[in-house]
Symmetry: C2
Subunit: 489 residues, 2 copies
């Protein structure tokens, strides 16, 4: 190791970080982020120091966003925000948000377009015998962040389970023109290394910490999301009836719909389940614990006491659970090859199947596009699940035209709401509208949606009939009258 690399307090290490710098931090899918150095930055800011940085991570790290964002320490953020505080700042225009898809991060980081990275702060379990850095509960883009950074601070967190050491599989595809095929054909296959090569001369400080990583409470399934899961399972049984109770690998996110689906998998007849996810949390890990799932690949592992218990108690864990770097978790080549069933959710969907997954009323960001669009584009089967109404019926999940478009109708195969399922494959645009309205919309909004479609076909026509003025009346009515529902229909 470099003579420059010294064990230091978080305070001393954080001293490297100055106002106006571009700082990269480890973290992906809510896991594996540094903790002590960010706390020091908060202390300095609270002490009156002028301190704001351009923060780059691999993907969503809500703890960093909330912790640093609440103090106004983040002036610019890429590639995803995952906090109400930071979203509010992005929407107010006081923080600059460079929203990116997860699968674009390797090429964007290599392009240098996020700016020179002054300091990278990464969490690790330590180093292996080759001097490679051993990450913790995520790997994410850490390899690229370390490559791009001038200086590096490593937080070695003794509170992260040592068991994680045997779970990492790190494979960094070379940049074109030297890129080779990714030699991976199954979910839990190991194709890479256990550590991340790092230029030791750039490591300026090692900070030893002992801070357990704990996810906040996650949303539970509801009666409505259970109905969505039920429609999904009826469909999967039909669609994969030749698969003898197995399924292609499933991509599942977080939230109440995901919770209901995990619960349904726990009680379904499917067996030897595989999950190929950006991140996994307790519900998917419970499927591993119960033996329902036989292979899980994840970019990040949402830590909790129960997850640590599952890690400790699962036999042959490293054969069944793989933590991968972000180059692979969201990789189109791998997702397409495995024929992943992508289970995504959105904010609103239009009658043709276009999805808004990021911006309320077209302008105000919630989180960001994340990895969903990439999974939908490359999946073997792309499923979009959405509740047919929100806010007690004031909002229809199905609208004439989405106010912002993240996932194209051409990247959606199946639409599910609590009311039913629409299989869009092989349908023309008006047929799509008919099945989405007929099978999926809420009864309260069906007449309004059907009337819109009739009017659009008559007044405008075309292959994809749309009347933007009429369509956006829905969002205007919500803003002005508090509901999308027409009074006189």
């Amino acid at each position: 190791m470099s003579e420059k690399m010294i064990t230091a307090t978080a305070e001393a290490a954080a001293g490297l970080i100055k106002d106006g710098m571009t700082v990269a931090m480890s973290g992906w899918a809510m896991a594996g982020y540094p903790k002590a150095v960010p706390e020091e930055l908060v202390c300095r800011r609270k002490g009156g120091e002028s301190l704001a940085v351009n923060l780059v991570t691999g993907a969503n790290v809500p703890w960093l966003d909330e912790k640093l964002g609440a103090e106004g320490i983040i002036s610019r953020r890429a590639p995803m925000i995952a906090s109400r505080t930071l979203a509010a700042q992005a929407n107010k225009g006081t923080m600059s948000y460079v929203e990116q898809q997860m699968n674009k991060m390797p090429k964007l980081l290599r392009s240098g377009k996020f700016g020179k990275i002054d300091v990278a702060v990464v969490e690790a379990l330590g180093f292996n015998e080759n001097g490679e850095l051993i990450p913790t509960s995520s790997i994410g883009m850490t390899s690229h962040l370390l490559d791009a950074a001038d200086s590096i601070i490593v937080e070695i967190n003794k509170a992260q389970p040592e068991l994680l050491r045997e779970l990492h599989d790190i494979h960094i595809p070379a940049a074109p023109p030297k890129t080779q095929p990714i030699p991976m054909v199954s979910t839990a296959q190991r194709i890479g290394q256990t550590g991340i090569a790092v230029d030791k001369s750039k490591i300026r400080f090692i900070v030893e910490t002992d801070i357990p990583e704990r996810m906040g409470a996650q949303p539970k399934g509801t009666e409505v999301t259970a109905r969505i899961a039920s429609h999904l399972f009826n469909f999967l049984q039909q669609e994969y009836k030749g698969w003898k109770g197995k399924l292609p690998p499933v991509q599942l996110g977080f939230g109440s719909i995901a919770d209901s689906i995990a619960d349904a998998f726990q009680h379904s007849a499917f067996h030897d389940l595989q999950f190929y996810c950006g991140g996994v949390t307790e519900p998917v890990m419970e499927l591993l614990a119960s033996g329902r799932a036989s292979a899980v690949s994840a970019g990040g592992l949402g830590m909790s006491e129960r997850v640590e218990q599952i890690l400790a108690e699962t036999p042959k864990l490293s054969e069944r659970f793989v933590l991968r770097n972000g180059d692979l978790t969201n990789n189109a080549e791998v997702i397409g090859r495995l024929g992943v069933i992508a289970l995504n959710t959105g904010i609103e969907m239009d009658i043709y199947g276009n999805v808004n997954s990021s911006h309320i009323a077209g302008s105000r960001v919630v989180n960001g596009i994340g990895g969903g669009a990439g999974f939908a584009q490359s999946a073997g089967l792309s499923v979009m699940m959405i509740q047919s109404t929100a806010k007690g019926g004031a909002i229809s999940g199905i609208v004439p035209m989405v106010s912002h478009l993240d996932i194209s109708e051409h990247d959606i195969d199946i639409v599910i709401t609590e009311n039913g399922l629409a299989d869009l494959r092989g349908l023309d645009d008006v047929e799509r509208a008919d099945v989405i309205i007929g099978n999926c919309a809420s009864d309260a909004y069906k007449p309004q949606l059907a009337a819109y479609l009739v009017k659009a076909r008559e007044n405008c026509g075309g292959h994809h009939p749309q009347l933007p003025d009429d369509a956006f009346t829905w969002h205007r009515r919500l803003k002005e009258e508090g509901t999308m529902l027409e009074k006189d229909i």
Copy 2:
């Protein structure tokens, strides 16, 4: 070969095709389509027979669309239309258009969702010693179409150059869960077979033809498109300055912008050019002829007398030119691995970089989404080129909000108009709007666009400020006043 397989007249063979059937025909990127059987269908229709079919091809085949569409023989069409006649029918609602992305075709055909294919009609040079079918100027989805069809008619066209025999490279990835890595790491690498395996028992008729395949006249570059090409080349020289005059493989389509780019490549300092395209026509083939290009991979070859001459005169042709099936030409795995420079065009783009490439005023289809979005999603560098105005200035190519969205802002790296270039990488949404308006919009529309952005930021705010009512005033003004231009600004 099967006892059922007999050489027959086109009239006899076409007799297999009845009103209401689903018929698949070969063809991809304007090339390799059957000719005699479609002519027979036209004759029958003109003779008063009630005859309309659901037509499925691999991709765009304008000759079939025009020939059959003009007689109303196509009642339903997938996955792409490439004819004004058929677009008009789709927009009138008299023909059902199932618009799909090219890269989704293998999985969609395997799903059976286009309906049972009654008859497949494919053009071939003949059969090889293994009894495999040898395609002509495209391969497309023919393998999948033959697999899915109940009966097959093969048109053996003696007018197609025998030289094509040595150009095909056919590799059909297995469906999940048996998919393997595609072992391809360079543009002209051969990884497959020279013929398509076919169940001979399904071949009902062989029709011998002698009909030269000739593309219609293609649009030439203009002074405006030459300026777009010029901005592109200045950028490429900077972006790839470490590549010693080489570039990653380039995806180039058809049209006047593509013509100007091919012309610029002919006169630039770049050498050993590679092209990885859905289809190529004379301009790219001229680059092969001049020695500027050393490797061309295409899904279809637009035939002309000049192209036939280039095929005949190019030494070591099969080492430099490969005709691939559609599973590979538009494959995310391969496009990403090669780091393809995707050069796409669109109808309109919004101030944030979202692109409408298919529907005028949001409703009326021109052709369809085709392969562009797939290339943009997976490319090493995604470039969108658009003229800043159309119809003598009545239409701005840059609008506040696209009326239809095919390619997301997140899949676009670089925007070019004749006025300049905007590099969107690493920018937040308002910064994107600033550079797109500032560098790319026409002077006539800049004040209007800038005023919109100011108003959207003030009245609505948010991370992605949009005022749909104001935004769609642009399209309404065009319809009502004949121009998007405001009178009083």
